[in-house]
């Protein structure tokens, strides 16, 4: 069992600490006062629609962008001021890995290796074999899936303390997506290593994450252990004696859908207890169940 690697946020400095981070692009607010911490030794899932700010946040962690307002610390350091100390311990894979097409795979890996003192050449070889990649092939001849696998080797072979995957699965077939999920699991089962996994594929995020953060239009809507988020949100369907002209007013409601006599409420279970709600409104409960991650996601994307 993994008792020893259970994250202990109280006694340990977080791997990532973002405090009141804001960022604008012209008149568009890309990040709005975001504060979050990523504890060591787990999978931190980051979800949100395209343009929600996920990649912008990640680019701050990599020190590619300077915080306009607020602060970003990775391993307790400022990634903009101290890039080698931070980037040397991070493995990064983006949706479209930027790999030089004219290089051969073995050249690219040698080139990448030079940046990482802890590069494990044997492990890289092993992954090449496992992924069925030919070391002599030119990068420009690779399919999208093969490029993703090569990007994964480059991100993983130095056994980084923090693996950051930014929408790695987009447009890939299930077999390559499986390789990516396996890399995530391998990374966290290695004592103490941490993964940040950004994706719009909620079932993949739910599968592997310990902690979940949701961004919507640059604002952090949720950030908590996945179990807690699931336990906190309920889907309650109500039936009324007479058709309702207005959506029912429910304490703790995040989203209300329906018409006439039947309404469905996604609510915060800490603030609303379905039987009390139903009694108060004079309605009958048709269903009272844990909401799915998809329903939670949609409910918080409402405005």
């Amino acid at each position: 069992m993994r008792e020893s690697s259970t994250p202990n946020a109280a006694s340990e400095e977080p791997v990532v600490a973002v405090t009141n981070l804001s960022r604008r692009f012209g008149s568009k607010i890309a990040l709005n006062d975001v504060t979050l911490a990523v504890a060591r030794g787990g999978v931190f899932g980051l979800v949100g629609e395209n343009g929600a700010g996920k990649s912008t946040l990640i680019k701050h962690l990599l020190g590619l962008w300077r915080a306009e307002a607020g602060s970003v610390k990775v391993f307790g350091l400022d990634p903009v001021l101290d890039p080698p100390a931070v980037l040397g311990r991070i493995g990064y894979l983006s949706e479209q890995p930027d790999l030089p097409g004219w290089m051969r795979i073995d050249e690219l890996l040698r080139y990448t290796q030079a940046f990482y003192p802890r590069w494990d050449a044997t492990y890289a070889e092993q992954l090449l074999g496992q992924f069925g990649l030919d070391a002599g092939a030119r990068v420009s001849t690779l399919s999208k899936g093969q490029r993703a696998r090569l990007g994964l080797i480059a991100a993983e072979a130095h056994r980084p303390d923090l693996l950051i995957l930014d929408e790695p699965s987009s447009g890939l077939d299930p077999i390559v997506r499986r390789d990516i999920l396996e890399a995530i699991i391998r990374t966290v089962t290695d004592e103490g290593r941490t993964v940040i996994f950004s994706s719009h594929l909620l079932d993949e995020v739910e599968r592997v994450s310990d902690h979940l953060a949701m961004l919507h239009k640059g604002t952090l809507k949720l950030c908590a252990p996945l179990d807690e988020i699931k336990a906190r949100h309920r889907r309650v369907s109500l039936r009324f004696e007479v058709p309702q002209q207005q959506p029912p007013e429910v304490a703790g409601a995040i989203r209300v859908d329906g018409a006439g006599r039947e309404w469905t409420v996604i609510s915060d279970a800490r603030r609303s207890y379905a039987p009390a709600v139903a009694q108060h409104l004079g309605a009958v409960i048709i269903e009272d169940a844990e909401a799915s991650l998809d329903e939670i996601f949609v409910a918080h994307s409402g405005n």
């Binding site: 069992m1 993994r2 259970t6 787990g42 999978v43 499986r178 999920l181 396996e182 699991i185 391998r186 966290v188 089962t189 909620l202 079932d203 739910e206 599968r207 592997v208 994450s209 310990d210 699931k230 169940a289 844990e290 799915s292 991650l293």
Partner: protein, 134 residues
């Protein structure tokens, strides 16, 4: 074990899907008493789920008395846990001798079935009464 697919979209939490699958495997004898379960790491990688989900499932089985955690060596199905198949085998001679004796009283098949149903129903009622008092 390799055919198992956990699906986050099913509505049942992933750790419970795993618990139910393992209980079923133990009940049918697919996993036998004393057998070691795969390590947390192996299970997580095979099923593509967070290792803590596997830990949670194993803990759940432990508190149900199905498995024991031996520190440093892994998770084992308890020797005392018999598979359904084993239990059914043990039950066969008991029921055979009971039915033999009932038939020797010249009872018909329908009578025997009714007696069995009655006995079970009475026990059910008694259990419920006890539970209500407690």
């Amino acid at each position: 074990m390799t055919t198992l697919r956990l699906n986050p979209l099913l509505g049942t939490p992933l750790y419970l899907q795993l618990v139910e699958h393992l209980k079923h495997s133990i009940a049918t004898g697919a996993i036998r008493a004393g057998e070691q379960l795969p390590s947390v790491r192996k299970m997580a990688e095979d099923l593509l789920i967070n290792p803590n989900t596997v830990v949670r499932a194993y803990r759940d089985l432990e508190s149900d008395g199905m498995v024991e955690l031996r520190h440093g060596s892994g998770v084992f199905v308890r020797e005392s846990v018999s598979s359904r198949t084993d239990l059914m085998k043990k039950a066969e001679p008991i029921i055979r001798s009971a039915v033999d004796r009932l038939e020797s009283l010249d009872l018909e098949e329908d009578d025997i079935r009714r007696l069995m149903e009655n006995e079970l129903a009475q026990r059910r009622t008694a259990r419920q009464t006890r539970k209500r008092r407690a």
